[in-house]
């Protein structure tokens, strides 16, 4: 969600010099309706966002285990650092971040680049097919992948078997379970990112390609020296969105592996769910949640830093 802030910087269509709102001249009396328009949302945000947010921060300084609430200071946060499962869940997020996101973005850029070439036939059809996974419900596609990844006679192993591969124990082996999660997420989100990148590609003025051609640049030179730098904001946007997605991963892992085997695919949110709603250790769950808030904020800051400096 942070990502939309980038759009605000780059995607604004307001003409320069045009005032932010057209009604700066209105008298105070005529400004009042604005409050009425905004009031329902403001009230709801106060009750269902600001208030629970404050509660959760407050509660993270308490221990609620055993039904009684006792003030424990920063103990819950200290627990985070000692808890091997927190480390493990962050490890999963990091793995997605370092392995899955680069693979997915590379695939998305490649596909978008190909599907932006004027000579490619059936481009609309290929784009539609590549985008199709993005319309599936997270739980539904995870269910389909889970069934396809059944070890004995599952569709995936049978397809691989045609090429001579031995059956793989996708969901019960620690490393294959990670591969399974990475493959599933890549299937679901590549087309989505492709469409965003495609929009970025189409915003590159044709004159740039023309100029590169006149200067005698080859295909690869054009790609690396024209396309990639021009795509920079869009690429940062997709990478940041995917990073935040990796931190907040839940549905896929919950359905595919339940975080197993041996917590190999445990994610921070899955762990939060288990601590909060299976062990009902609310204070600690809140601390895990605020760890996510801090990590997301760090990513947001890094994103703004990178965006501000010119390449």
């Amino acid at each position: 969600m942070t990502a939309s802030l980038i759009v605000r910087e780059h995607g604004t269509r307001r003409a320069p010099g045009r005032p932010r709102t057209g009604s700066g001249r209105l008298t105070a009396r005529r400004q009042r309706p604005g409050l009425w328009f905004a009031l329902p949302a403001a009230a709801l945000l106060l009750v269902f966002f600001a208030y629970p947010l404050a509660t959760s921060l407050l509660q993270s300084f308490f221990s609620t285990k055993g039904g009684e609430s006792t003030f424990v200071g920063l103990d819950q946060y200290a627990r985070l650092f000692r808890d091997p499962l927190v480390l493990k869940s962050l490890g999963t997020a990091l793995l997605i971040l370092v392995v899955q996101v680069p693979i997915m973005i590379a695939l998305a850029v490649g596909l978008a680049y190909i599907l932006n070439q004027a000579w490619v036939r059936f481009r609309s059809g290929f784009r539609l097919i590549a985008f199709l996974p993005a319309i599936t419900t997270l739980v539904a596609y995870s269910v389909v992948f889970r069934v396809m990844m059944t070890t004995d006679g599952g569709a995936l192993n049978q397809i691989l078997g045609v090429f001579g591969a031995a059956p793989i124990d996708w969901l019960n082996n620690e490393w294959w379970a990670r591969v399974a999660v990475i493959a599933s997420i890549t299937w679901r989100w590549t087309g989505y990112n492709m469409v965003i990148i495609l929009a970025g590609l189409q915003a590159i003025p044709a004159e740039l390609y023309e100029a590169a051609r006149i200067d005698g640049a080859g295909r690869w030179q054009t790609f690396w020296h024209i396309v990639v730098p021009q795509l920079r904001p869009v690429l940062i946007f997709t990478i940041v969105t995917s990073t935040i997605g990796a931190l907040q991963l839940f549905d896929e892992n919950f359905i595919l592996t339940g975080g197993g085997p041996n917590n190999a695919t445990l994610t921070p949110v899955l762990y939060l769910y288990k601590i909060g709603f299976q062990q009902f250790d609310f204070g600690y769950a809140d601390a895990i949640a605020w760890m996510l808030v801090v990590l997301t904020a760090i990513i947001a800051v890094i994103q703004f830093r990178i965006l501000r400096e010119k390449p």
């Binding site: 969600m1 309706p33 409050l35 328009f37 949302a41 947010l53 389909v144 059944t150 299937w187 809140d286």
Partner: protein, 298 residues
């Protein structure tokens, strides 16, 4: 906001100009066939899970794990549907999902449109604060609210009710932000003209602004609908009775059964995807804009 990224009407003119005419035919074929090969492979990978979903939901569970796999749809669709209805009451489950998503979409969209318009058009007191809250809401992971909202719902006695699914998330910061951005681009001369003609603020909004903003609102509606339709973790926490389950929660329950009805599961997944697929086919432009949450402005 309208994007033509999937179906390219005019867009082909924006494609990278071809170098083809300068290259001999043989060289062209050699250079281009790998590209088509990549596209065909990518398409097959993209389509296999869909194909398998359709095939598997029309076969018996026992036929889904035999060698060789069935590659054509079978004739067990109605039996699977019947079993799905029998085991989890899937008809009711689908109705629940539609009801929750539609109610949520209607009210949340109204609130987003109104707030977005208010923020973009007027300079009332507290506007900056509200804008700040909305930006913060967008940046903060929603999961931080799980525990405190759960407690709020528990003490309000709303657990296992639909208001718990709908009301806490009615003010959707992202939707509001999207609408505000949209209304900032709204031609102010139209609003001024309506005011000079003596129209009330509400009438101006209703009669002048809403009709012009229709494409953006359509994207918002689709975005809102999808987000509720796909919502999983919150309904999972809130709903206890099976007859209130939404589709994702029901699918999750079916996985946990001691004897998993695999073809039923695949049919359920198919039915979960079908409404979105239809929405996508009918409202392609708004669907893409809505799904990407305004990430792409055409």
């Amino acid at each position: 906001m309208a994007t033509e990224l999937i179906v390219t009407g005019r867009a082909h003119r924006r494609g990278i100009p071809s170098r083809a005419r300068r290259e001999p035919l043989l060289r062209r074929i050699v250079l281009r066939s790998p590209v088509y090969l990549v596209l065909v492979i990518a398409s097959i990978l993209s389509l296999i899970p869909f194909a398998w979903m359709v095939i598997a939901s029309t076969h018996k569970t026992s036929d889904l794990f035999v060698t060789p796999l069935p590659i054509l749809p079978g004739g067990e669709f109605w039996q699977n549907l019947g079993r799905l209805q029998e085991s989890v009451g899937f008809g009711q489950v689908m109705l629940n999902s539609v009801l929750v998503a539609v109610l949520y979409t209607v009210f949340s969209s109204i609130i987003s449109v109104m707030c977005g318009y208010g923020l973009a058009t007027y300079r009332f007191r507290g506007r900056g604060v509200l804008m700040g809250i909305i930006l913060v809401t967008m940046m903060i992971p929603m999961q931080v609210l799980l525990v405190p909202l759960f407690q709020m719902m528990a003490s309000a006695g709303w657990i296992d009710s639909y208001q718990a699914l709908i009301i806490p998330f009615l003010a959707n910061a992202f939707g509001i932000f999207l609408m505000r951005q949209g209304f900032l681009d709204f031609p102010t001369t139209l609003i001024e003209a309506a005011r000079i003609d003596g129209a009330s603020e509400l009438r101006t909004f209703y009669r002048i602004v809403l009709p012009v903003a229709r494409p953006q609102i359509a994207a918002l509606i689709i975005y809102t609908f999808i987000s509720q339709w796909n919502s999983f973790i919150w309904p999972l926490l809130m709903l206890n009775s099976e007859d209130k389950y939404t589709i994702p929660v029901a699918l999750n329950t079916m996985i946990g059964l001691s004897r998993v009805d695999y073809s039923g599961l695949m049919l359920g997944s198919l039915l979960a995807t079908l409404p979105l697929f239809i929405l996508f086919l009918v409202f392609q432009k708004q669907f893409v804009a809505g799904l990407l949450g305004g990430a792409v402005k055409g």
